[in-house]
Each structure stands twice: as C-alpha cells, then as structure tokens.
C-alpha cells in the first residue's frame, strides 16, 4: 500500500510535470505568435482577431471614415 502510494505519486508526478512543461512550450509559442500578430502594423483589428482565433465585434462608426 505504501509502495503503491509512493510509486504512484512518483510516476504520476513525473508525468504531470512533463505535461506542464510541454503545455508551457505550447503556450509560449502561442504567446510569441500573439505578440507578433499584435505588434504588426500591417494588420487590422479584424485580421488580428482572426489570426488569434478570437471573437471580434467591429466598432460601429455611423457613416464615418475609418482610415
């Protein structure tokens, strides 16, 4: 029983740690891409939202020029 607890905790903890590290790598990659998309002057907000897979609602301008 004690062996089971120790061994299970060890193996589970190792797997969990490995999963955290792999997830962190993926999230870092995503953060890099988000940062690149956000700082690009060639993109509109619409395209930024599309690139980041985020929902976007355009700000409504009544009959006005945007750019």
């Amino acid at each position: 029983m004690i062996i089971g607890v120790v061994f299970g905790a060890l193996v589970g903890g190792l797997f969990f740690l490995l999963g955290i590290l792999i997830s962190a790598q993926g999230q870092l990659l995503m953060a890099h891409a988000d940062s690149a998309v956000h700082t690009s002057p060639f993109l509109s907000d619409l395209e930024r939202a599309a690139a980041m897979s985020l929902p976007y609602t355009a700000p409504a301008t009544i009959g006005g020029a945007v750019g």
Binding site: G4, F15, G19, G26, L29, H32, L43, G63, A65
Partner: protein, 145 residues
C-alpha cells in the same frame, strides 16, 4: 496591403471606409461607395441586398449601437470573389497559421500527458492497494491454519 471594397470590389484607400446602414456595418468600402451609403442608403439596400441578408444582432432596437459579429464581415467580403476573400482573411493570417497549430498541438499534448499521468498514478495506487489487501488477507488466513 491592398483592401478591396465589399460593394464594388475596387481598391479601398487608407484601409477602407466604414458605413452603417440600419444596424449593419459595411467595411471596408471605397470612398465612392462610402459616399453613396451616406447619401442614398435606400439604393444601397436595394442594390446590395445580399450584404444585409445575414441575421444581425438587430432584434433589440434598430438604433442600438451594436454591430455585427466578426463572421458576418467574412461573409460580406467573400461575395466579390474567392481571391478577395483570400486576401482579406489573409496571407498574413496564413503566415502564422502553422505556428498557432503547432502551439495548440503542444498545449493539447501537455494536457494529455498530465491527464494520463494522473490516470497512471491512480492505476498504480489501485494495483498496489489490491496487492496489499491480498497480502494482508493471505497472512491473516495463514495464521489460523
């Protein structure tokens, strides 16, 4: 980056203009179409009815300051041609698409590894628990024989 007008398909200068007819936001527009929208919105409604066909968030009130969600712009833009749709949705967006895929794949893999770690730990715990129970019962039964 070239922006095409969703009404006439011509190049829209300065990133395009925006016009609002009823509760529909039209963007990007060239200068002529923006002028036409502000001058004669009824004609635009008749001539470009397909731009207003999609269900907007208009059920509350016609004067509410709401605008259509993002996918509506995509459908409005895609009416000109596939090339304009590709252009607006983008070469630039495609540039990082694989990076985003790889990132979400890694993130998902990490979550899977974490979950499988918890499952494996539980299985090991149960296995040794059963082994312990079996050993104890065997020992106790052998004491009485």
């Amino acid at each position: 980056m070239e922006t095409l007008c969703i009404m006439c398909g011509k190049e829209a200068e300065q990133g395009g203009y925006t016009a609002r007819i009823q509760e529909h936001v039209l963007r990007p527009l060239c200068g002529d179409c923006q002028h036409l929208c502000s001058k004669d919105p009824g004609q635009v409604l008749q001539a470009h009815a397909h731009l207003f066909a999609s269900p907007a968030s208009s059920s509350s009130s016609p004067t509410a300051d709401t605008s259509p969600p993002f996918p509506q712009h995509g459908t409005a833009t895609s009416r000109n041609s596939s090339s304009s749709s590709l252009h607006s949705n983008g070469t630039f967006v495609n540039r990082y698409r694989d990076l985003y895929r790889a990132a979400s794949l890694l993130s998902g893999l990490g979550t899977t590894v974490k979950t499988s770690g918890i499952v494996v730990a539980t299985v090991i715990l149960f296995f040794w628990f059963i082994v312990g129970i079996a050993t104890v019962s065997e020992t106790s039964s052998s004491q009485f024989t």
